[in-house]
């Protein structure tokens, strides 16, 4: 492996224009002069979106249908955080049925997004191919399984919300559609059948070699305190460094946003760290004991233990979470069917004020905050996106990883792959993160 030209004092320049197999446009740029890193950036070159600006003046009821358009992959997640925030601002308490249905569609999206990422965006690296397309010929059973599982996840979203990308039926105050019992029973059957597919997926991933790289950082996520469920839909803010819970309404005590010139998305830090991570691994590190027993077993099989500081294991945590979400969805459907579904009117606002809401979306902790004026129009909006929160942490990882790769005598091509895999492991969603920014930067 060792290349005689690769002594640690060498000069290396890596420029990956538009990292592929991530959602959105980002560039990796690293310069090393005589063994010292002189430049290291994950530059985010996605276009500006300005959602926070143009939400102002729109009717309060439109917030979820506008903000879900931030991202195709996590539109259910944005919808969830959005309805939570707007309901806090408008003093709305939704029914238990509403919470159950919204939770089910959010599980559907976690499954859809994680499986998409693992099969379509991450796995090709491990097979040494550029995309999932060649795998259709060499490993057709893997691709067919991936499509079967993804379709199930989409159909969960479809049954509850009308469709996965930009769901129709989820509104501030409730849901505008109730699924039929036989639709839910059909999903339950397919979720049970999916256990076999998941088992094979776990087997596949147990054979893939995860790069050995650890760096201590802070992991931030929601947590349902007490003996609550594994947090996706709601909870309080906790972290591996500061496990005392903070209410979502006080999220500004835990998140500090900063504009950075080279990044088309704001960077974030916490009161205790200059960089922190959110996402599946953060949730796992904070809430592992709240996972379904089957998911805990899979975590054991794959050697994943809290607190895990290897960012490449975000993929492993995603897989573990899908085992949890399948079981949690089955239990949820049983509960919904036992209660019985009835058509309910949307709960109207009781006030127009300010409110914050959050959800654990596939890529991590998402905050929405709105203010509503006395005319019912939105007059303030702030959105804090998981990938934006991860950017400073990814750069810190790259700072720690690059000298190790240099010292190992790795060639430039392989180094680039390792760095791209690192970025991909975070499953970054750059469209989301740059709901506001554009960037031009100087060499």
């Amino acid at each position: 492996m060792s290349d005689p030209n690769n002594e640690p004092t060498r000069n290396v320049s890596i420029d990956v224009k538009h990292v592929t197999r991530v959602e959105g446009h980002g560039n990796i740029s690293i310069s090393v002069r005589e063994g010292e890193i002189t430049k290291l950036q994950l530059a985010i070159v996605e276009s500006p979106r300005f959602f926070e600006s143009f939400l102002r003046g729109r009717h309060w009821s439109e917030a979820p249908h506008i903000t879900c358009r931030i991202c195709g992959i996590c539109s259910v997640g944005h919808t969830t955080a959005s309805v939570h925030a707007m309901e806090a601002a408008c003093g709305i308490q939704v029914t238990e049925q509403t919470d159950l249905l919204r939770k089910l569609i959010l599980y559907g999206e976690e499954l859809q997004s994680h499986w998409l990422h693992l099969y379509f965006l991450a796995v090709p690296d491990y097979f040494g191919v550029g995309s999932v397309i060649p795998l259709a010929e060499t490993h057709p059973e893997v691709v067919r399984r991936a499509l079967r599982m993804k379709k199930l996840a989409n159909d969960i979203c479809g049954v509850v919300g009308g469709r996965h990308i930009h769901p129709v039926a989820i509104h501030v105050g409730g849901v505008s559609h109730t699924p039929r019992d036989n639709e839910l029973l059909g999903l339950k059957q397919r979720l049970e059948d999916c256990r076999g597919d998941l088992k094979e997926m776990v087997e596949l991933f147990s054979k893939l070699e995860v790069p050995d790289f650890n760096r201590e950082t802070e992991y931030v996520s929601l947590k349902v305190v007490g003996n609550g469920e594994y947090a996706f839909y709601n909870g309080d803010i906790v972290s591996t460094k500061d496990p005392s819970p903070t209410k979502v309404a006080d999220y500004r005590q835990r998140v500090v946003e900063e504009v950075v010139q080279h990044s088309a998305a704001k960077h974030c830090r916490s009161p205790s760290s200059s960089a922190y991570a959110v996402g599946a691994l953060a949730r796992f590190n904070n809430n592992a004991e709240q996972l379904h027993p089957d998911a805990q077993k899979v975590a054991d099989e794959l050697g994943l233990k809290p607190i895990c500081f290897n960012p490449y294991h975000n993929n492993t945590a995603q897989l573990v979470e899908t085992v949890h979400c399948v079981e949690a969805s089955i239990e949820l459907i049983d509960k919904i069917l036992t209660r019985g579904l009835k058509s309910e009117p949307l709960v109207p606002p009781s006030k127009y004020e300010r409110g914050a809401g959050a959800a654990e979306v596939p890529r991590g902790l998402l905050f929405h905050e709105y203010g509503v004026g006395s005319d019912g129009k939105i007059d303030m909006a702030n959105l804090i996106i998981p990938t934006g929160q991860n950017l400073a942490n990814i750069e810190a990882d790259m700072h720690a990883l690059t000298p190790k790769l240099l010292a190992s005598g790795m060639g430039k091509e392989e180094m680039t792959l390792q760095l791209e895999m690192l970025v991909r492991a975070y499953d970054p969603c750059i469209s989301c993160a740059t709901h506001f920014l554009d960037v031009e930067w100087e060499e």
């Binding site: 197999r21 300005f50 600006s53 506008i66 129709v168 920014l437 031009e440």
Partner: protein, 247 residues
């Protein structure tokens, strides 16, 4: 020879590209019939010899303008997919605020770092051969389009309103429930998904044209005492209309 396909994204949520990956039942058949040569979201390899290029997202930055011109030059057939590419989409909401103001609201004194232009449809910059509107685009319509391209048949969008599909499904009209809905003037092809799930049509597939607007305007005023001015904010949501078109 299989047609060489590319999928590009400009300013948007990339949901329409994702919708292609969500064609689970047809994806392997489509991959067997075409060759995907450039799709950054899903593959590493990138080629610029392209027969059919699909583009989602709007033109919203100086960089987008350069990119769409490059795509146009590289693709024999250029197809706009989704409301952003076809109409400008949700991005056009920023066009109603002064540029300085919407940039400053997000960035404060750092606004100068982040240039932007008014959001617009692809057709405002380059010639577009086909449009598949919707937010997101309709997957079934995409499959129908691909079939037409592969077999050399002509492709056309439905030229009737969402109301037609909604009535066919037996939905209770939302106007009867006091909800203002853009179904009477919006292009069909979505199987009236929003009203079928209890939600008003938001016009994401664009309006049918001036005549349809005038007819609907008269009907709605007479039947429900609603004028098209009442739905101005809804028309803006996806850039579905030009204000001067209002009767």
């Amino acid at each position: 020879m299989k047609p060489k396909i590319a999928i590009f994204s400009l300013t948007g949520c990339e949901g329409c590209s994702l919708a292609i990956l969500e064609l689970e039942d047809q994806l392997l058949d489509i991959l067997g019939a075409v060759e995907i040569v450039n799709f950054r979201e899903g593959m590493t390899e990138r080629s610029w010899d392209i027969d059919i290029g699909f583009v989602d997202g709007a033109v919203s930055t100086p960089e987008d303008e350069k990119e769409i011109i490059r795509f146009r030059e590289s693709c024999k057939t250029l197809v706009a997919i989704g409301s952003c590419a076809c109409l400008g989409g949700i991005n056009t909401l920023k066009n109603y605020q002064p540029e300085d103001e919407y940039r400053r609201y997000v960035y404060g004194d750092k606004a100068i770092w982040f240039p932007t232009i008014a959001a617009r449809a692809l057709s405002a910059v380059v010639k577009v051969d086909y449009e598949l509107p919707g937010c997101p685009m309709i997957k079934e319509e995409f499959v129908r389009f691909v079939k037409c391209m592969l077999t050399g048949r002509p492709f056309e969008l439905p030229d009737y309103a969402v109301c037609v599909e909604c009535k066919k499904k037996g939905n209770l009209c939302l106007y009867e429930k006091g909800v203002i809905c853009l179904g009477p003037v919006t292009r069909a092809g979505c199987d009236a998904i929003c009203p079928s799930f209890g939600s008003k049509c938001e016009g994401c597939r664009g309006i049918l044209g001036h005549e349809a607007l005038c007819a609907a305007g008269v009907n709605l005023r007479e039947q429900y005492d609603v004028s098209l001015d009442d739905v101005l904010a809804d028309f803006r949501l996806f850039g579905a209309y030009q204000e001067k078109d209002l009767p």
